[in-house]
């Protein structure tokens, strides 16, 4: 079977569609002889979703995906197994390996809270990996950073940024959403009790890169915890 974890009801619908195509009874259908191509086509048909196969992954498709995933964390999208493809009004179209999964819809909705409807385009896990590889290849910077990426700073002097707490994604707000980009690019180092009331030497402050690295580690850890919690709840 090309896609694991397909609910039995979905599987039955798929084999029923294949049996109908062969004008036979589902009980007489030899499931072992169904090709992967036909299975995927029937799965797409029963889901009412178009299917993207390896040879459909072209520049225009990737351009559409890039337009919506540019500000998102590709590693997180890989974990959730979806890529946004298009957004029209309040409708989002996402490429997914498991469009029947309610959790997938919920996660996508939390990434795009302004979209009240999610429609799917089906893809096999293998082709999904290919899409991610091509997207990462097109934007290698994303491949290196799992969480938040500081935007390049202008050369002009900046006023001191107000101190903000780094936000940790909650269950309803996965990492990498556009709103996550409100993270400040510099986070002050913790103040030791002995130094309270004294002026901090500048050497003891974390650099912007170190602070970003710390925030990334936090976000990765938060993602793992979230995924673990989601798996348990399933």
């Amino acid at each position: 079977m090309p896609i694991p974890d397909i609910p039995s009801q979905v599987l039955n619908e798929v084999y029923q569609a294949i049996a109908d195509r062969h004008e036979t009874d589902i009980a007489k259908l030899d499931r072992a002889k169904v090709s992967e191509e036909e299975f995927m086509a029937a799965l797409a048909f029963t889901q009412g979703a178009p299917l993207i196969e390896a040879n459909d992954i072209n520049e225009s498709l990737l351009t559409c995906c890039q337009a919506l995933s540019r500000d998102l964390d590709l590693d997180a999208l890989m974990d959730y197994k979806f890529v946004p493809l298009a957004n029209r009004g309040q409708t989002l179209v996402a490429i997914s390996t498991s469009p029947w999964d309610a959790m997938t819809t919920e996660i996508i909705s939390s990434y795009f809270p302004h979209c009240s409807r999610v429609r799917f385009v089906l893809i096999s896990p293998k082709s999904m990996t290919e899409v991610f590889n091509r997207l990462k290849g097109a934007n290698p910077h994303d491949a290196q950073v799992a969480g938040y990426t500081p935007k390049p700073r202008p050369a002009i002097p900046q006023p001191p940024a107000p101190v903000q707490q780094p936000s940790v994604p909650t269950a309803g707000q996965p990492a990498g959403t556009p709103t996550d980009q409100t993270i400040p690019t510099s986070v002050p180092a913790p103040i030791s009790p002995a130094s309270v009331g004294q002026e901090m030497p500048s050497q003891s402050l974390l650099t912007s890169e170190e602070a970003t690295c710390l925030v990334n580690i936090l976000v990765q850890e938060a993602n793992r915890l979230l995924q673990r919690r989601q798996r348990k709840s399933l």
Partner: protein, 158 residues
């Protein structure tokens, strides 16, 4: 305009309340005249939705009309319709059906036929185009795209 096309037209107009009761008939008449001219000159027919979007008055309103249709139908939006290379030449019957119904085949394999159009109510059009690509009885899937993108894809069929 035949009964089926007229029904589709009125359904679309009704959906997004583009027209008042008074000018629905005038719009339908304008559309009929336009597609008759296009059919006579063997050009692709302007899709009903495209016609309505042109008459919307502003780009924003036209976008809103399309978004409304996408949101309220059960068909997936397809952002990049293109006709596969092997269907672009030497298929006059397919070309005629595609031009008439503003529907393009975007993926045709032995097992799957994905057709892209602009009108979620045009079951006749889907059947007419599918007839020309259904050699091995593929599973049919219909997707929706913007009229200008579909018209651009239509012109890929020579």
């Amino acid at each position: 305009m035949n009964t089926s096309t007229r029904k589709q037209f009125l359904e679309l107009v009704q959906v997004f309340r583009l027209a008042s009761e008074a000018n629905k008939e005038a719009l339908a008449s304008d559309y009929r005249a336009l597609v008759q001219r296009q059919a006579a000159s063997l050009k692709p027919l302007t899709p009903i939705l495209g016609f309505c979007m042109e008459r919307a008055g502003s780009k924003e309103r036209a976008e809103a009309i399309f978004n409304h249709v996408v949101q309220n139908c059960s068909i997936t939006y397809w952002p990049c319709p293109e006709v596969p290379a092997h269907l672009r030449k030497g298929q006059p019957d397919l070309r005629a059906a595609c031009f008439k119904h503003a529907i393009v085949p975007v993926k045709i394999t032995d097992t799957l036929a994905v057709l892209c159009g602009t009108n979620p109510y045009d079951a006749d059009g889907v059947r007419a185009v599918f007839k020309h690509v259904s050699g091995k009885n593929p599973f049919p899937i219909f997707v929706l795209s913007e009229p200008e993108k579909v018209l651009k894809a239509l012109l890929q069929i020579e």
